[in-house]
């Protein structure tokens, strides 16, 4: 498939607010990106299949009432659950950023221990230390190549990307954490982990791990590697001028570390479809 034929579907509802910059990132790579209200996707069920990539961007869908992402997850699975399943079955990639990650977890699409689940198998709980925080963090790429959103990134490479959330503490069911973690590792589902500037694991310590996530998990994919959710915002680290310290550099880079995630998925779709 040629780059300019690729179409990205970005979903929004009341409270979504990172749709425009996510669209901008995709379009910078020469693909077409469209923002649709969930009402539109509900009305025209075939619309989704005109697109190769589905994105749930950041924001506070429905005010994050109940739990972050919970309401949108239910609405999506109720209204267009069938289409989403077909989309996944066809191997078309789905990305969830921040609130979108919360949606994917609440919808049972991630971690997807045994395929799509009818109930959440993990949680993005309130931060420890508690509270909303907007800050830059370091991430280590830990995936062995399964995740189609990061396959261009060498394993072990560090990425610097900001987070901005109050509910991002990745948690697994109490008592079964280690067992599930082992299976996530075995299945190559761990994608990004919080670390310090030197790439050493944050080991749960703030501020390197900004929210107390279990095993420093910042982003995971499903077993097929085509569904990917992450708390950090790659669209806010897309251009060099978005870096927090570009004014210190004698020659600031044109792009930031977020770009490679978008680039990976576009190249994957070009190859695959």
């Amino acid at each position: 498939m040629r780059r300019k034929e690729i179409k990205v579907c970005i979903v929004r509802v009341g409270g979504t607010n990172c749709d425009a910059e996510t669209k901008r990132a995709f379009e910078d790579l020469g693909v077409k990106a469209f923002i649709y209200h969930i009402n539109e996707l509900t009305k025209r069920k075939d619309l989704l299949f005109e697109h190769q990539i589905l994105v749930f961007p950041g924001g506070f869908s429905y005010g994050d009432h109940v739990r972050a992402g919970a309401i949108l997850a239910k609405i999506i699975m109720t209204r267009i659950g069938k289409e989403i399943r077909a989309f996944v079955d066809e191997g078309r990639p789905i990305l969830g950023i921040c609130n979108g990650f919360q949606v994917l977890v609440e919808a049972g699409l991630l971690p997807g221990l045994n395929g799509i689940s009818n109930y959440p198998e993990a949680a993005l709980a309130t931060n420890v230390p508690s509270g909303y925080r907007c800050m830059w963090v370091y991430l280590r790429h830990e995936n062995n190549g399964k995740c189609v959103f990061t396959w261009l990134i060498p394993r072990g490479m560090l990425l610097r990307i900001p987070v901005a959330h109050a509910e991002g503490r990745f948690m697994l069911p109490g008592g079964r954490e280690e067992k599930i973690l082992a299976s996530l590792i075995d299945n190559d589902q761990i994608v990004l982990r919080y670390c310090n500037e030197n790439g050493e694991p944050a080991e749960g310590r703030y501020p390197a791990n900004p929210n107390g996530s279990f095993y420093d998990i910042a982003g995971i994919c499903d077993q097929s590697g085509t569904i990917f959710g992450l708390m950090p915002h790659p669209e806010r680290a897309y251009y060099g001028w978005q870096l927090p310290d570009w004014t210190r550099m004698s020659k600031p880079p044109k792009y930031g570390d977020g770009k490679i995630i978008f680039e990976s998925i576009v190249k994957y779709v070009m190859k695959k479809f």
């Binding site: 009341g14 607010n17 009402n39 210190r248 600031p252």
Partner: protein
Amino acid sequence: MTRRLYIKRDLPFELYEVNVLEANDDDLVRISEEMGLALSLEEMRAIKLYFSKKGRNPTDVELQAIGQTWSEHCYHKTFKGIITLPDGRVISSLFKTFIAGATYELSKPWCISVFEDNAGIIHFEHDYGIAVKVETHNHPSAIDPFGGAATGIGGVIRDILGVWADPIACMDVLGFGPLDYDYSNLPPGIKHPKYIFRGVVAGIGHYGNNMGIPTVNGAIYFDESYVGNVVVYCGCVGILPISKYIKRARAGDYLVLVGGRTGRDGIHGVTFASLELTEKSEEVSRPAVQIPNPIEEEKLRRAIIAVRDQELASSITDLGGGGLSSAVGETAYKFGCGSIVELDKVPLKYPDIAPWEIYISESQERMLLTVPENNVDRVLEVFWEEDVEATPIGRLTEDKTLKIYYRGYVVAELDIAFLFSPPVVRRSAEIIKPKFNEPCFKEPSNLTEDLLKILSSPNIASKEAIVRTYDHEVKGNTVLKPFCGRNNGPSDAAVIKPLDKSWRGVVISCGLNPRYGKIDPYWMAASAIDEAIRNNIAVGGRRIALLDNFVWGNPEKPDRLGSLVRACMACYRFAKGFGTPFISGKDSLYNESPLGPVTPTLLITAIGISPDVRRIISMDLKEPDNLIYIVGRTYDELGGSEYYNLRGCLGKNVPKVRLREAKRNMRAVTRAIDKGCVRACHDLSEGGLATAAAEMSLAGDLGLEIWLSRVPYTGQTLRNDFILFSESNSRFLVEVPRERKEEFELMVKGTYYAPIGRVRRDKSFIVYGLNNEPIINTSVDELIEAWKRTLCRL
């Protein structure tokens, strides 16, 4: 009692006739109080006269509508009134004479709409304009800190939507009492500063974050007088295509109410804001505080931008203070129309709300559009698609009257002309020059401790723990963030790059010096203007426009009014002198509590332009061995300084602004930045040279040495501590690479400047005194520790 003041009409709903025709002066005052109108006797008499001519009594709806329109909050009576000064001089309008006066005399072609609409609009690039508005929300925040602050942000965002602009950034400047204030000193009815602080900060973050608008600039200031009078300034910047700035409503257009439903929240918000806070405020005015719902406003924003882009509406305004009453009245007045409104069409949160309550409720997230008949269906559809309610509630009419119906009955009929011609307020001002002295103490031999203490003082200490709870990067356009460098130093201004296809940036900064106002409000205002402008200049901003936001005490008290007049005089002189017009502003008066009046506080917001954001400069030191220059002269001006404050004194020598010198310095810094010979630039403000140097050093994680003997200083007393901590205005510290030395000096020729130090390779921070002996000797790590410890855990 023989006369009945309130006569219930025999109708299937609650409507009272208010017997003003038979009321004497005492009754009139009573009516104003009982109905929560906050009108003076003179104003009540004008109302009585009007209805005498009509030969009938007003309804409660009519009186409430008049009360809202004539309130200080909506009509700005004090700023528009006649003020007599002690020397007999008469000012016919503070606003026209001093604030708008400067703007009109400057007559800048890039000012597109000033003081006319919900927000000021200036030209940005091609067809794009930038809209800016700053509001205060002090009174509601004192009662309900979270709701008050959140709806403050919500309200100012709607002001931006109200000029068809898309919000791109928020600002917030907050004033609290000391967080360690002794509980036993709190009078009844006043909440502890820490409680207010937490609520306000959470409220600001909640609204901005949920709406997805980055909060990029602001300040937090602590002052004893804010214990009883919390100060909450909320600002918003938006961008709009100027060709879509449509305000041409005509008779026949429909009034379409869009957004949230109407309830009993926010009844009498504006009249509440026009009174002093008392012990009873909590009980009496609780309904005056509105309830925030940012998601509703986020949806509203999308729909409004869609309506704008399709040019479906003929005008727009927000429902803020005064609710429907203000929005309908002002729309009709502005377009020379009358209007009819059917109140029973207004969607309600719950039934059985009296007509007058519907009409003045300040329920949030509502806006009023005027829509030509042919477009009504399409407009309703746009809102429907966003899951937002939109309801035609009336029309503009040819005759210049306001006619309000409820269930088929006329409940109000007022002439628009009368509604907008309240009696002119006459007040007298008294100018008291308090006697202050400079403190007398020996110069300490070592100033390291003093510097560290100043860095830890609440007004200077890092606000990172607070600011990081606001999303400052959503939309991905924040080029210069609130923090910069390796250790999150305090940026002088924020820079937003609003257009994907352009490198042009909007530079947002502010200035605020309440402590100077305790000595002299004139120089306080001058300093705030200078500070806002130099913060903007320091990062590379230019073509600066200003906003003024006054927070003052009760203007009916002559001394408060006198200081307000002094501040306004400074606004005129320095805005005009700097060539920086005011484009919008707002005043919040009556900030008084049982603890006394608020310290007169003027916030100046500066909006500049960066022609190319790739050339902006941050304040963190960049490279070892670079030279540090000071631009601007230091005077013996420690009145109101942090240094004196540390010793419990106020002093007398408040920093002044010397226009010619100031302008020369600013032009020089801009030239040097444009020439590319500046690596870092920071303005000198609270805490003076020592603090600015320390901030640059800790932000860059690089040591620094400074030689005080080289600093251009003009003062009778030659002392190390004075040079280090004087807060003279119009000064900058600039980092320049050695190889650019000559070039830089050429750029700043004509100013008082000097190379006063250099960036070190290690992390030592050393200041050599006048005798060339070290008087401050510390390390970057110690500076960081001191600067971050105060407000790190809250």
